[in-house]
Subunit: 96 residues, 2 copies
């Protein structure tokens, strides 16, 4: 896993919105693209970045490609943040 790639992928608002939509379940590339004011090739680029970061998985079903959220990597981010926040707080003395 590369937090590098992961955070880079998350640093784009369009990509975070895509993940947000996928919280509710799988969606096809086309259905996702329709939700944004952007060309399909541009959206396809974002899908590729998310896939490379392993934040989503994809499978083809006929002519469509279904994308799904990969919670595993999200949990890695979670773990990273927990550690940073927890240790920081222990020292910082911020009690709540």
């Amino acid at each position: 896993m590369s937090l590098n790639e992961t955070f880079r992928a998350l640093s784009d608002p369009t990509r975070r919105q895509i993940l947000d939509l996928l919280r509710r379940g799988e969606m096809t590339a086309g259905a996702l693209a329709d939700r944004f004011d952007m060309t399909k090739p541009s959206m396809s680029h974002h899908f590729a970045v998310l896939k490379e970061a392993d934040l989503v998985t994809s499978r083809r079903e006929g002519q469509q490609i279904w994308y799904a959220l990969n919670t595993t990597v999200v949990e890695d981010v979670l773990a990273w943040a927990v550690q940073l926040a927890a240790d920081g707080r222990d020292r910082g003395g911020k009690s709540e």
Copy 2:
């Protein structure tokens, strides 16, 4: 708060290492810079990005500037990831 800025700041490995060092407590700009194989101006740039993203705070004490981790924003990232992971898992059916 802007997750945009936050994730952009976190997408650089040097900056994540800086935060990592700050888990243990405040450090001066110079002390931090010494830990990296990079010029001080470059390090200063990274401090500025982290400050802009509100991931660190700074205060001057004499000739030195002390940087400290701001756990509040880290916790915002945490909350974001929790929501994504939790909702995603509810649907994804991943039981552990």
